[in-house]
């Protein structure tokens, strides 16, 4: 669609309406998206936040009035909330710690070249592609004492005294979700750490300041343990042969 008025108004003085139309033009173009975002995201967000200060119970038609900070006062004395908070910390801490440890082990194993390494890397990354819902369902089945193999294996190994359902045992139940989450989260740590290790190796041939890291890096004959390698610098990604590439400047 052509706008001959726009061309004309460029030379003559613009009317107030014209200036308004020019300023509003980008807003009109983005209006469909803005209306959608406001309608399906911002309005529900503000409504949801307002619920925190209102007495909203779906099955009680007389609820809906403002109660101020009553919910937060009740929350401060809610024992179940503090238990949930402790469980969250324990679950998150144990999951991330174990994911990191096993991910680091896998990354160090995959760091060295061996036959079938590409296939192994692809397989290691596979659990990450499983939807969390399916992973949880699968592990619930695996832990099931009737149809799942894990309780029987653990009983045979002597970890459990009998093939009971650990998900029904108050003292062991948290280990079920932790194990499932660890299985699901290891690939992310493994691939991230593997990428970091390989970035380290790309920079490790470059001479650096005389530090412990630089000394063990200077000779490629005795490579650094991974925790001593220098952090990757932008020059690690330069194509080899360019003046700042790590290989051309090494001694």
């Amino acid at each position: 669609m052509s706008h001959p008025e726009t061309v004309r108004s460029g030379t003559a003085g613009k009317s107030a309406l014209r200036r308004f139309a020019d300023a509003a033009e980008p807003w009109f173009y983005s209006a469909p998206v803005l209306v959608l975002i406001v309608a399906v995201m911002l309005v529900p967000l503000v409504l949801g936040l307002s619920y925190a200060f209102r007495d909203i119970q779906l099955l009680n038609p007389f609820s809906g009035g403002f109660v101020g900070l009553d919910h937060f006062k009740a929350l401060a004395e809610d024992e179940a909330f503090y238990r949930a908070l402790r469980n969250t910390l324990w679950w998150t801490g144990a999951s991330v710690f174990l994911q990191f440890v096993f991910g680091l082990i896998l990354a160090l194993l995959l760091d060295k070249p061996f036959a079938g390494r590409g296939l192994a890397q692809a397989l290691v990354f596979l659990p990450w592609a499983v939807p969390t819902f399916l992973a949880g369902l699968n592990w619930a089945w695996l832990f099931n004492p009737v149809i799942g193999p894990l309780p029987h294996w653990m009983a045979a190994l002597g970890i459990l005294s009998a093939p009971d359902n650990i998900l029904a045992d108050p003292h062991l139940a948290m280990w079920g979700p932790i194990i499932a989450n660890v299985w699901w989260g290891i690939p992310f740590f493994a691939i991230t750490l593997l990428a970091a290790l390989q970035a380290f190796r790309a920079t490790s041939m470059r001479p650096r300041k005389s530090t412990a890291r630089a000394r063990c890096n200077a000779s490629s004959r005795s490579p650094c343990p991974f925790w001593r390698r220098p952090s990757p610098s932008p020059s690690c990604c330069a194509p080899s042969g360019s003046p700042i590439s790590p290989t051309s400047s090494s001694s």
Partner: protein, 59 residues
């Protein structure tokens, strides 16, 4: 997996919010918990950002 598990032993904050909202249908209380969780996570994230910034400046 466990729906909060035996006697709330596997209840985390997120699942507690879900329980309050969609099982007890108390949306007001659930929203209040969610707001508290948001504030806690914001505080934790800001702490991490500040610590990281300090470490980077020191390096």
């Amino acid at each position: 997996m466990t729906n909060g598990g035996p006697a709330d032993r596997t209840q985390i904050v997120a699942s507690y919010i879900f329980t309050q909202a969609f099982r007890r249908l108390d949306f007001g209380y659930a929203s209040a918990i969610a707001l508290v969780l948001l504030v806690l996570l914001l505080a934790y994230s800001m702490l991490i950002v500040v610590i990281r910034q300090r470490l980077i400046e020191k390096d």
